[in-house]
Amino acid sequence: MRSQHRGQPREMCYTRPTAWRALLACSSFLCLSAAAFGQGQPSTEVTYKSILNAPLAAENWLTYSGRYAGWRYSALHQINTANVARLRLEWAFQTADQGQLETTPLVVDGVLYGTGQNNRAFAVDARTGRAIWRYQRSLPEKLQPCCGMVNRGFAMLGHSLFMATLDAHVVALDAKTGNVLWDTVAADYRKAYTFTVAPLVVKNKVIVGISGGEYGVRGFVDAYDAESGRRVWRFNTVPSPGEPGHETWTGDSWKTGGAPAWITGSYDPELNLIYWPTGNPSPSDYGGERGGANLYSNSMLALDADSGQLKWYFQFTPHDLHDYDATQVPLLVDAEWQGQQKKLLIQANRNGFVYVLDRTNGRFLGAKPFGHVTWAKGIGADGRPIVDPAAQPDAKGVVVCPGALGLTNWYSPSYNPDTKLLYVATSDECDVFSAMPQPYVAGHDFMGSVYAPKPDQRPSGSLEALDPLSGQTKWRFRYFSSPNGGALSTAGGLVFAGDSDGNFIALDARTGNDFWHIQLGAAVYSTAITYLLDGRQYVVIPAGAGLFAFAMPRE
């Protein structure tokens, strides 16, 4: 692969020339990059510094959310409100496997790296979609991911790609060949520990969180040394006896307490804190034998990046009975809050409320519902929900909103600094929850419940534009079906989103007006990315078992 066509001038040409970007244009990273490209040297190495500077180097997509702040926003604006109607398919890539792609691809200097179903992985020429290598992990026969044999993507550092696998390993692959560099066992898949998460690289560490909240795992967040694969730290999301928070579990319920950590967190380099959200306590919908708040389920954890030490936590849904994982990407935004400049953490939570926290200390600042919510009557001044007792599931079944899949879910939100709006896909599904005691059997479902959509309702959904500080909805674009895909916003004034009926859509970030859409023939279960190559901006979306890349027609 050659990249001599790349360079700072072209990159800046397609990055909105605001004052701060101009000031930073000759930051050491960009000048070094330009020098490297100028010499015609292939540059596939990702450094911690390059991830830190990802907002200024929008030609690549270096980490799950595009930047550590979690925004899934790109400064590219070649494709914009004035021309997006002419967007066209540039290439497609198929994994030719069953199930759906949930990956967020990474793009580094002309190569796109993605993960697929059944722990497939691939590198493709980002200009043509042609494969450079393919990887297929040999998996045990009896695996139990709750929701498909899926994976949400790579992280990258140096020339290594990191994937967390369905059989609960963390592996490093060589970026040029797909060869395995190291393979570390994180947990026992026979007890239904699995990974679906895209790792997060911070400094020289690979951060991952476990899945298995439907099977009574004991959750954790791990950090591995990127070079050796050695585990550096583990934070158990369910405290053992003697640890703070253990008192929030009755009896031995902590041993099978769940609190998985299956979506990629965000990172604040100034505070050196990783913000990693956690999922439901187990069993998810029956709480009779796990009395207490069940820390640290359904929480936001602020972990020291070097040690994994817990600096603070905030629990959104104590003693959850409705499967309201907090596994939505946290958005780190610096903004004025009640007259004071604050370092904020914003999360549109599966439980139906959008929260604003002070990310320096976890202090609750505010929360507003962003859809129909019946399980709680509101959020109190202390940040705790005012729970409606009538929403407690029983053997007969009760209708509760949002449903078990949440008002939103794991699919990525986007924060756009130009509009100062949060874009989040939502579902209006309410469910009938029924619950009953269930004995724990290692490796078996442990939900204590069944749930089903309210019989007289056909669930649909929306893409919502929210003012995250007031919780006010600015616009709403209606989907025919409940979504499974998130949002990418760009400096081109656009929001790209995919729906469950196979449409990929470009919307006006300010009004929600749909400028363009295309039917891809399969549901979108992921979120778009964008990159710049040969002076052309591409937007890539997974749909079904394929990736589809779009760009403007060549002049």
Partner: protein, 183 residues
């Protein structure tokens, strides 16, 4: 549906539970299926909308295998109170979280004021593929429509005892029960 790891005893228990949901046994109803067939293709006008073994209309569900799939009481309800439970339409294999389309009543109004009623063969955010009551496909873009209204009721008229007597009902049900798709 994902594969599961249930033990055999658990699978048997689930089957027993599912069978318990069936409102009646599969014992054949006392009716004359030949007469029922005559009613189905004759005075009952059932075949105007339902197909059996390649003969009949297209608006309602194909009934070629209905006797193997539905209980007697369900068949009776579907004739006397067709809106009580709506049958599923197409399921999208590419969207395993999606809800199946159902045989509900859809009415669209175009920007030119034309109103069309039928059932949705498919629908998404931007388009709808409607089979109208004349059994013609209407392939429509939502940008050309003023409204798309779904009503949770069947397009099929209720065959009350005034329209279809109890004896005739038993005959029709006996005919439907005989449809196993093996003819």
């Amino acid at each position: 549906m994902p594969a599961n790891s249930f033990e055999d005893s658990e699978i048997n228990a689930i089957i027993a539970y599912l069978r318990s949901l069936s409102p009646s046994s599969k014992a054949a109803i006392a009716g004359n299926r030949e007469k029922g067939q005559q009613i189905f293709f004759g005075k009952g006008t059932c075949s105007e909308c339902h197909m059996v073994n390649g003969k009949g209309g297209r608006l309602g569900p194909d009934l070629t295998r209905v006797g193997a799939a539905r209980s007697t009481s369900y068949l009776i309800d579907s004739i006397r109170q067709p809106s009580k439970d709506l049958s599923d339409g197409m399921v999208d294999p590419n969207n395993h979280y999606a809800n199946a389309l159902v045989y509900d009543t859809v009415t669209i109004v175009t920007r030119t004021g034309q109103q069309v009623t039928g059932i949705a063969r498919n629908e998404d955010t931007f388009s709808i593929q409607l089979l109208d009551t004349n059994q013609q496909l209407r392939l429509l873009l939502k940008r050309d429509l003023v409204s798309v209204k779904h009503e949770r009721r069947s397009l099929m008229p209720a065959y009350t005892s005034d329209v279809l007597g109890d004896t005739e009902l038993r005959d029709v049900v006996a005919y439907l029960e005989s449809l196993r798709g093996n003819q």
